[in-house]
Every structure is written in C-alpha cells, then in structure tokens.
C-alpha cells in the first residue's frame, strides 16, 4: 500500500477520477432514466455507448479526418468534435430507440414478466456487441488523436488539463440541462408522472409509449456524448466489447447514487471514478476495478437504496 504515493499524486488522481467519473455518469443516466420509468435494467445500454464510439470513428475515417493533434489547428478540432458528436449521439440515440422498439415494446404489449425483459436486455446486449465484433474482426481501433492533453492552468499542486476541463464541463452542462428539462418542462412532467404511477398517468392522458421513447432517446443521446468524450481522452480505443466494462461501471454508478435518481447518477459516477483512481494510487493499476466494486458492495450495505435514494419521480434530477 503506497500511502505516500497517493498523497503525492492526490490532485492528479482526483482530477483523472473526476474526468472518468463524468463519463460513467453520462452513461449511468441512460440506466437510471429507463429504470426510473420502466423499472427495467437495460443491459443493452453499454452497447449503445459502444456503437456511439464506432459511429464517431467511422465518420471521421469516412470524411478523411486524420489527426495529428500537435499540428491540428483549433478550427479543425472543433469541426471534428462537431461532426463526431452528431454521429455518436445520433447513432447511440437511434440504437437505444431501436432496442426499445424491437426488443422491449413487444414484451410490454404482452405484459411479459420482468425476467423476460432481463433476458431480452442481456440478449440484445450480446447481439449488438457480437454483431459489431464480427463486422470489425474483433480488433481494437485506435481513435484519431484529437487533442494532446496539456496543462491549461495550475492552482497550487492542481494541474488542470484541457481534456479534463472539457469532459467535466460538458458533463455538468448536460446534467444541468437534463435536470431543468425533467423538473420544469411539460415532457419532463410526463416522465415524472409515469415514473411515479404509470397507470394513473395513462388515465390522465399521458402517452406512456411516448414517454418511454423519450427516455430511451435521452439516454442514447447522453451515451453518445459520453462516447465522444471517451474518444477525446488519450485512452481512446474503439472495440466491440468496450461497452461491457464501462456499462457495468456506469450501472454500478447509477446504483451507487440511487438508481432512478438523476443527480445520484452524477454523484455515483464521479465517486466511482475518483475512488478507482485513488485505488490506483494506493495499490496500483491492477486494483482499479476491484476497488470500485468493493466500494459499491460496502456502500450498499449501509445505504441499500444508494446515496441519494431511488426516485426519478421526485426529479431531484
């Protein structure tokens, strides 16, 4: 155990943790929104993220963006991000909505038991991952390096890099926007109404299918944004099974914060990211995933409904 190392690298580990945690949080939103409304754990959501990643990659390749971050001017960086986010968010949202339409809605119409949904979710996840796996020959694809991480400003021992600032800012903005949407808008009201009482909502004229569509759409868009941010990070590699671990962690983050609770997704994501990176400092990189899940299990012993409790209806988004 390397306490001295943890203390020495504390600022860097914290910031890296927040950066990765922000991405977990964005993916976690998709789990939490769907759970809040349908009480369904959409395991295929990890593949929504994965497809977003590939969509950005293929779009960049198709348009001939080749990046040497050292030399790339700001203008072409912004253009690449814009094109990438449209491709990733679009593909992810389309995937999410298609999964709901093809896999879940028919089950809902037949009042299938929860286990049927669960197996369908796992099945959809495998089909998508393996489909892309076959298509890409199970090879990893390096992302064009869009941005060379560099320190933009320093505050004492805290060095903020450009990627950290971008990822964290984008995540917070997305969160605030979604929070406002759910707690203030008419559609948000519909989402909360269905989350609190689906049957009564229907009798009050809320179109449940539309609310469900909307929830999958938003979750997909957020996963697409997360996929793009993931590509901006220096680790950026697209692989058919990349969704598995990130999806699992995002799901853990959602549970940690209180599944069904939007703010819980943010808190859980950031907490998980930071804890993992402290574990890296303390025990070494091999222990990263180990510690994250131990944290989850221990925390749930004391707060079984997660840190902020379960409730989308309450819209403490």
């Amino acid at each position: 155990m390397d306490v001295a190392g943890l203390l020495r690298d504390f600022p860097e580990l914290t910031l890296t943790g927040l950066e990765q945690g922000a991405i977990y949080a964005l993916v976690a939103l998709g789990y939490t929104l769907v759970y809040g409304v349908l009480k369904l754990i959409n395991f295929a959501h990890s593949e929504v993220f994965m497809i977003g990643s590939f969509a950005a990659l293929w779009t960049w390749q198709g348009l001939g963006f080749v990046y040497d971050a050292e030399a790339a001017p700001l203008g072409s960086f912004l253009l690449a991000v814009l094109v990438g986010v449209i491709a990733a968010a679009g593909a992810s949202a389309l995937t999410a909505v298609t999964i709901e339409r093809v896999a879940y809605r028919p089950l809902r119409k037949r009042n299938a038991p929860p286990l049927a949904f669960l197996i369908t979710a796992i099945g959809a996840s495998f089909v998508l991952a393996e489909g892309i796996g076959v298509y890409t020959h199970r090879a990893p694809y390096g992302m064009p390096r869009l941005l060379q991480p560099e320190v933009v400003f320093q505050l004492g021992g805290w060095k903020f890099t450009n990627t950290q600032l971008i990822v964290i800012t984008v995540t917070l903005l997305a969160m605030v926007a979604l929070d406002q949407f759910v707690s203030r808008s008419r559609l948000g009201r519909g989402i909360r109404a269905v989350a609190q009482d689906p049957d009564t909502s229907a009798l009050m004229g809320v179109n449940k299918d539309r609310v469900i569509f909307l929830v999958f759409l938003i979750g997909g868009l957020m996963a697409g944004v997360a996929a793009l941010l993931w590509n901006i990070l220096p680790i950026g590699v697209a692989k058919f099974n990349m969704g598995f671990l990130i999806g699992l962690k995002a799901f853990a983050a959602a549970v940690l914060g209180g599944i069904g609770n939007l703010r819980g997704a943010l808190l859980g994501g950031l907490l998980l990211g930071v804890a993992e990176n402290y574990a890296v400092g303390l025990f070494g990189t091999d222990w990263k995933d180990f510690v994250g899940f131990v944290l989850l299990v221990v925390l749930l012993m004391f707060r079984p409904t997660g840190l902020l409790g379960e409730s989308l209806g309450r819209a403490r988004a």
Binding site: R186, L187, A193, Q196, S201, L203, G205, V206, N207, A315
Partner: protein, 257 residues
C-alpha cells in the same frame, strides 16, 4: 329527447370463472348526475374501470358519444373526454398540487415534443394557459396551497385535488369513485356543492358512492347493481321505494313479504 353521452350496452365482464358484470345495460345522458350504487362487491368499480378503459368487456360494448371505447388506449379515452378519480387516492405524491393538475392539462396540448424543445411561442402560450387553468381549477375545488407537495395535503384536499386533476383533462364526463369515503358530514355537504358546481360548468357526472344521503341528495338518476347485475334504475325517490333495492341493501329475500 335527451342526448346520450355514454351507453353501456349489455356489458358482460368475466375474470376467469368469475362473472363481475352480467349484461349490464344503462345510458348516461348529457348534463346529468348519475349515481351508480350497490352493496360491496356489486361490480361498481369494475363497471367504472370498464368505462375508463382499464378493463375490456368480454361481451357487449361501451360507447361514448357514439364511439366505441373498447380497444382504445387509456390516454386516447382520456382525450375523448372521460376523466376519473380513484377510490384509493392516486395522486402523484412527489409533485406539487399545481403540477398534478398540470399533468392532466398537458393531455390536450396541441404542440408536440419538437416545439417544446425548440421553445416555440405557441408552446409557451399553451404552457402558460395550462398553468393558468391549473390555478383556476385549484381555486374551483378550494385548494389554497398550489405549491405544496401532494402527499403533504390533508386527506380532504387530496380528494379534491384528484377532482381538479381529472377536470384538467377537459372531460365531458367526470367519473367519481367514492369521493366521499372518509369524509365527515360537513365535508360531504361541501362535496355535494362541488359536484353540482362541476355539473353546472357543463360536465356530466357519474358518481359511485356508499353514502346514501349524498347519493340521494345530489344525483338526478340512480342505477343499482347487485352481484354484477343491474337490479334497478330511476330517480332517487323511485329507487328508494324499489323493493329489490331495499332487499339488496337489507339482505331480505325478495319473495319474503
């Protein structure tokens, strides 16, 4: 000739072997207050649920304004103009009183998701008018704290809030499922006034209620169910004198004299 609003046409509803409704047949006319009464388990709530699309009749059909209800989705039935309250209060507990009513008002908004996202002026106009209407309805039923969470309202307020929320969907027909349950006499009198006010505002009312004083005092006509069958229909005075009804309520065999 009175204009029929809702026609329950020979409706039978079976759950497995249990016959919950047996060839029930009655008509609800525009502008009246119709009472639906019967001993416990007579099928009142089942009948109600069939009328609001929760259950689908096994036989027969229910028509609203001449249009068949069976097979329609619940939100579509709401859009057709049928609203209801619940025997057990079913508000959105974590929303404010105002928001509860606005969910009902949202149902007949014209603008879709796109204009809401683009924040088009038409959307804002609707949002504002929905909010104004929600405030009006809260005043109409006598709730003075629009910002309060529904679960923090008093029992009587929660019942009245359900009525306000149902009215927000702009119904032609309001179905009240035991709205006076748990009320004291003063609250029942206030409810009597409120039901009349609702009718006078142009909404037809169907009332399921156990409290005979309220039912006899407020309704124009009454339909009596027992064991899923209609046993009587008429004005409160006629129903009160009807031997079959007296027997059903007092448990006297009809052939005993």
């Amino acid at each position: 000739m009175r204009e029929a609003l809702l026609e329950v046409d020979n409706v039978t509803l079976r759950f497995g072997g249990v016959v919950a409704l047996n060839q029930v047949d009655f008509t609800l006319y525009k502008g009246e207050i119709l009472g639906l009464i019967g001993p416990n388990g007579a099928g009142k709530t089942t009948c109600f649920n069939a009328m609001t699309g929760v259950y689908r009749p096994t036989e027969g059909e229910i028509r609203f304004g001449g249009q068949r209800i069976s097979g329609k989705r619940r939100y579509q039935i709401t859009k057709m103009g049928i609203a209801r309250t619940f025997q057990n209060i079913r508000l959105f507990p974590e929303m404010s009183a105002l928001e509860n009513v606005m969910v009902g008002a949202d149902a007949h908004h014209r603008t879709g998701a796109l204009s809401a996202m683009l924040r088009l002026p038409r959307h804002w106009k609707e949002e504002r008018s929905g909010r104004d209407r929600a405030h009006d309805l809260l005043r109409f039923v006598g709730i003075s704290r629009p910002g309060e969470q529904a679960r923090n309202l008093s029992y009587g307020e929660q019942r009245r809030l359900e009525i306000a929320r149902a009215l927000a969907t702009n119904p032609q027909l309001l179905c009240l499922d035991e709205p006076a349950a748990g009320f004291n006499p003063a609250e029942k009198d206030a409810l009597n006034q409120l039901i009349r006010k609702v009718r006078d505002s142009g909404v037809t009312v169907l009332l399921i209620e156990h409290d005979m004083r309220l039912v006899m005092g407020v309704t124009d006509r009454i339909v009596v169910l027992e064991f899923g069958k209609k046993i009587a229909e008429g004005t409160p005075a006629e129903v009160r004198e009807n031997p079959a009804v007296i027997a059903a309520y007092l448990g006297v065999p009809t052939d005993a004299s």
